[in-house]
């Protein structure tokens, strides 16, 4: 397996919460299903669904899956999770 097959944590940032009665978590799961292989269960890779103050999610993805999400409508940015440090 190449490095692009390895799952890493990515942040998918989508801006404001959608208007109306939309289940944001369902939206995130649905987006994941569109890029994940059928053998992978979305709930296993979804770490957080951000839905109280803004829209986005964190998931364990391959580089290819992250690239596909980056091209989707409704996505502001997709980037690898980093570890930050105390100051």
């Amino acid at each position: 397996h190449g490095s692009s097959d390895k799952r890493q944590v990515y942040i998918i940032y989508m801006g404001n919460l959608p208007k109306g009665k939309v289940s944001t978590t369902s939206l995130h799961t649905s987006m994941l299903h569109e890029v994940l292989p059928s053998s992978t269960v979305g709930s296993e890779v979804l770490l957080y669904s951000y839905h109280r103050s803004f829209n986005g999610f964190a998931a364990k993805l391959t580089e290819d899956e992250a690239a596909k999400l980056r091209e989707k409508d409704g996505v502001v940015s997709v980037f690898r999770s980093q570890k930050k440090q105390l100051h």
Binding site: V9, I11, Y13, M14, G15, N16, L47, Y48, Y50, H51, R52, S53, F54, G56, A58, G74, V75, V76, S77, F79, S81, Q82, K83, K84, Q85, L86, H87
Partner: protein, 622 residues
Amino acid sequence: TTRSWDFMGFNKKVKRSIIESDIIVGMLDTGIWPESQSFNDTGLGPIPKKWKGTCQSSANFTCNRKIIGAKSYRAKGDIPSDYKSPRDYEGHGTHTSSTAAGGLVSKASLYGIAKGTARGGVPSSRIAVYKICWGDGCYDEDILAAFDDAIADGVDIISLSVGSFSQLEYFDDTIAIGAFHSMKNGVLTSNSAGNSGPILSSITNFSPWSLSVAASTIDRKFITKVKLGNGKIYEGTSINTFDLKGKMYPFIAGAAAPSTSQGYTSEDSRFCGPGTLNETLVKGKIVFCDYDSDGTGPAEAGAIGAVFQSGGYKDYVFPYSLPLSNLNLDDGRNVLNYVNTTENPIATIFKTNVEDDQFAPFVVSFSSRGPNPATPDILKPDVTAPGVDILAAWSEAVPLTEDDTRIVPYNIISGTSMSCPHATGAAAYVKSFHPTWSPAAIKSALMTTAFPMSSKNNLEAEFAYGAGHINPAQAAQPGLVYDAGEIDYVKFLCGQGYTPKQLKLITESNFTCSEETDGAVWDLNYPSFTLSASPGNSITRVFHRTVTNVGSPVSTYKAVVNAPPGLIIQVQPSVLSFKSLGQKLTFVVTVGAEIGNSMISGSLIWDDGVHQVRSPIVAYAS
């Protein structure tokens, strides 16, 4: 903290708002030690009705009327369940929380050092804890989850003393993203600037919608004296909590005590690294070391104390697990000469004394500097605040140093992590008087009322201290504010190169970028003015600004300009006449600069005789 608030004129008797106890400070950090006296809830009323958060209670953690909410975040499933609580097993979060919002605790000290009444900036406020950092760091997914909750929970301000190892674009950085949405919801995020100074452009939290805080000294320095057998006394630095009661001990150079059985020579042992010293030769003695470290080597070898010689920065100090003093190179050379030329050399190390530092405040060496790496024409950091040798509450789950077993309720540490919660406390204080003010207005109040600082002690000038040193008492009465809202930041983001598709997702307004907004990042209604150009060039820049009257209903402000050689500053109009509170007036600042190869700075002050609303003006070679 026992000194820092008084140092900036924010004394115990400062006027307090009756709604200070309704202010909720959101602390994104390593958790909290709830049993600390700093978080005692005696005298506090019911939890504010606006609070919508939760408390992750367990057998080992409960909230009270001071700590009204607490939750831990760790997506990686590698933390034992016993530790997955908001309890602080590191110390950092307890320290920052007590600095921002801790109650009054008399006779707080670290083994008698820095003794006084410890207090936070808003002692009556409430604390909401979001534990995002663990022993191995703070992960982006957890940080963003905490922001998502904190904003929705109803906190009034967010304090985050954490940053990246690298510099990221605004929407590739969870802290900038979280701070953006907190701004949109009326919540200011106060961020540490970072500890990568004094290298230029080393700042890591620099989004214009957050407050970026540098770290500076207070008028307190820690002196640890070393007395030799010849009667000479040398002044070093450290936090030496041990009292040898003046008893003299045999003194040996690390170079004379190599652990040869482990293959080390005197060239190794002179630095006193762990394992390099011969325990038999060092045990019960004070050892002289050619380099500064955490003292682990001498401690492991059984030394009674250590004297370090170092040419490094000496503007902040640490506690150690044994008596220790850091000498400068000249004094170190003299002391080493005594050790090497004296038969049976002896010495003692005294407990640390606290003395006045007449040079304070200056920005500490490690504090990250500007200019802003993403937007060169927005000044960063914004302000500086006390971040050096700050005494505040500590977690009793961790020893004072890694190498000892002593548990302390208060500890002295340094970092922009320590300055950030000072600014948080000051911002919360302003908000307690002006609960409807926007994050930008609160930030403006802190910046325009800041004590001016001098480039004499800070070569990097505004890139070290921004608008200056926070002045919390004055910040509640700024006179004028440079306000900004979501639409202003969206215009800014047009100039920053974000696409209409991206901007449509982050704003509810129907704003579209235009020629007017594209590239004009400097027209964000910011309380500072910055222009960059290539070295050796002259440049003229026109800044458009709007100020809102929050002082006297009827007032007239005159523009007072401070322009050093190489800087031409014109303000039109030069007089602003207000007829009501909340009235907004616009003006234009035209700055011409002969930049050369460095930076030039001046200022604009709007003065009505009562308020002096000061903004730095910086021109530099980019």
